[in-house]
């Protein structure tokens, strides 16, 4: 379980995250929801230590984060753009003992990627698939995905969504932020809704659907008044 406890973050004069606490379980897909600028990406980056929180703690399975066991997949490439897909894989193999080349090869095949392609030659959708493939091939216990569908074509989106319901995600905890909630609503187990730097609502998606007959988007409309 990922536990985010009482975290706060300020950007210059703005308190972006007031006081946020939530959990994301292993084996579940947890979705962080919020309007633009509510701090969703900041929370993911903060969990990974990329943007240190001013206050608060993050624990993974009761301990400080072990980067071998948590993968972060942002909405852009995190390799130099002149790298080839092959080079990215070589880099991951060098530093992640858990990196599974066979799994990566399987994903390259499924996503129809070409290892000799340079990252700067790829479309946004293809880049997103490369990112995801590298993250999953790391074989982590937890996968943090920041806007994985942002700006990509519908077919790439479909391929990625398919991945979430495949065996590759079994037993992994997924923490995802996205604006395209309708694409994966039926896959999400838990939603954490942010508003003005705080948790507005935290709920089990299936419960809300069956008991109240509401989708995540319905709850969003209630909360954000749209």
């Amino acid at each position: 379980m990922i536990e985010v406890l009482g975290v706060k973050k300020r950007y210059r004069k703005k308190q972006v995250i007031e006081d946020v606490s939530f959990t994301a379980q292993k084996g579940e897909i947890t979705c962080l929801i919020g309007l633009n600028g509510t701090g969703k990406s900041t929370i993911l980056k903060g969990i990974m230590g990329l943007t240190p929180f001013d206050q608060g703690t993050v624990l993974v399975d009761g301990k400080p984060i072990d980067l071998n066991r948590v993968a972060f997949v942002p909405d852009h490439s995190t390799f130099p753009i002149h790298f080839t897909i092959e080079q990215c894989e070589a880099f991951m193999r060098d530093f992640y003992p858990t990196f599974d080349p066979k799994l990566f090869a399987r994903l390259v095949d499924e996503f129809k990627l070409f290892p000799e392609d340079k990252l700067n030659e790829l479309s946004k959708g293809t880049l997103a698939k490369v990112n995801l493939a590298l993250g999953i091939a790391q074989d982590p216990d937890y996968l943090l995905l920041d806007e994985p569908f942002s700006g990509i074509d519908v077919f790439s989106k479909e391929q990625i969504v398919e991945l979430f319901s495949s065996d590759l995600m079994e037993d992994r905890g997924v923490l995802i932020t996205t604006h395209e909630i309708e694409d994966i609503e039926y896959l999400v187990d838990k939603a954490v809704m942010l508003n003005r730097g705080r948790i507005a609502r935290e709920f089990d998606v299936e419960d809300v659907r069956f008991i109240h007959g509401k989708s995540i988007v319905d709850v969003m409309r209630e909360e954000y008044g749209a």
């Binding site: 943007t51 240190p52 852009h76």
Partner: protein, 266 residues
């Protein structure tokens, strides 16, 4: 082992531009040597017709603008690259720095690998320049001997020239000390970058704050030295210098480490 891998990757990323830099320096120096020797050969012929002879000295070649420029280019490129080796990782919404910071390896290893990469590049430049100097001198003496032109300057003489007495002092211990000073400059640049990159999201004045912090650290031993210098003798001053140097290195390292591990923001 991770450290070696990190260094390997750093060098891999930089080998093309490094090779280009070496190529540029060699081309300037040897190209200019060819021009220099040709000009003097022609001049000597003119002198000969008038019943005189020319004396060519190697240090005129070494003290000429193209040669000094080639060394200057190397120096400036390495200074700039000492900062660039960090800044390039922040290009485009964080890019590679995100990858580096989320590696399952201690962050200080990132620092050490970049530091060693820079120092290896600098030492590589110094090594290549040494080879170049030896070969240039050989070409110089061989060509002029072949043309029957008088020449001056032994290889030992050139070593006394300012630039080369710094790069290749006659005492190897002094060379080590010079390299330590170069390393200190690199450490200072690294610390500046890490502090600036940690504060950039909090203030637009992050570069100034970084300079002020580092300036403050260096000001402490400098001020002490300046005040007590008039009361102390060479051996005592040397001790103060060493203490001041160690203090600066320790403090900058602690600051760099602290910011890298706890405050760096992507």
């Amino acid at each position: 082992m991770n450290l070696l891998k990190l260094i390997g990757w750093e060098l891999d990323r930089v080998k093309k531009i490094y090779g280009l830099l070496l190529g540029v320096l060699i081309t300037i120096q040897f190209g200019w040597l060819a021009v220099f020797l040709w000009r003097n050969t022609v001049l000597n012929e003119e002198y000969r017709r008038e019943g005189q002879s020319l004396l060519v000295v190697f240090h005129s070649y070494l003290m000429s603008t193209p040669y000094i420029l080639s060394i200057g280019i190397g120096l400036i490129v390495m200074l700039v690259f000492s900062g660039w080796i960090w800044y390039r990782e922040f290009w485009g919404r964080g890019t590679f720095m995100m990858r580096l910071l989320t590696l399952p390896t201690k962050r200080i290893q990132l620092f050490i690998s970049k530091f060693i990469t820079i120092m290896m590049m600098i030492l590589g430049l110094i090594a290549v320049q040494w080879f170049a100097l030896v070969i240039e001198y050989q070409i110089f003496t061989t060509w002029l001997d072949g043309q029957g032109i008088r020449q001056q300057d032994t290889f030992a003489d050139i070593r006394q020239l300012d630039v080369f007495s710094l790069l290749y002092p006659t005492s190897f211990v002094n060379f080590i000390i010079h390299v330590m000073l170069i390393a200190f400059v690199v450490l200072t640049i690294f610390t500046f970058v890490l502090v600036e990159r940690s504060l950039w999201q909090r203030t637009i004045f992050s570069p100034l704050v970084s300079i002020a912090l580092i300036g403050g650290v260096l000001a402490i031993p400098s001020t002490i030295f300046y005040v007590i210098e008039q009361y102390l003798f060479m051996d005592e001053l040397a001790l103060i210098l060493v203490i001041g140097f160690l203090f600066s290195v320790a403090t900058l390292t602690i600051i760099a480490r602290q910011y890298l591990q706890k405050k760096l923001s992507v």
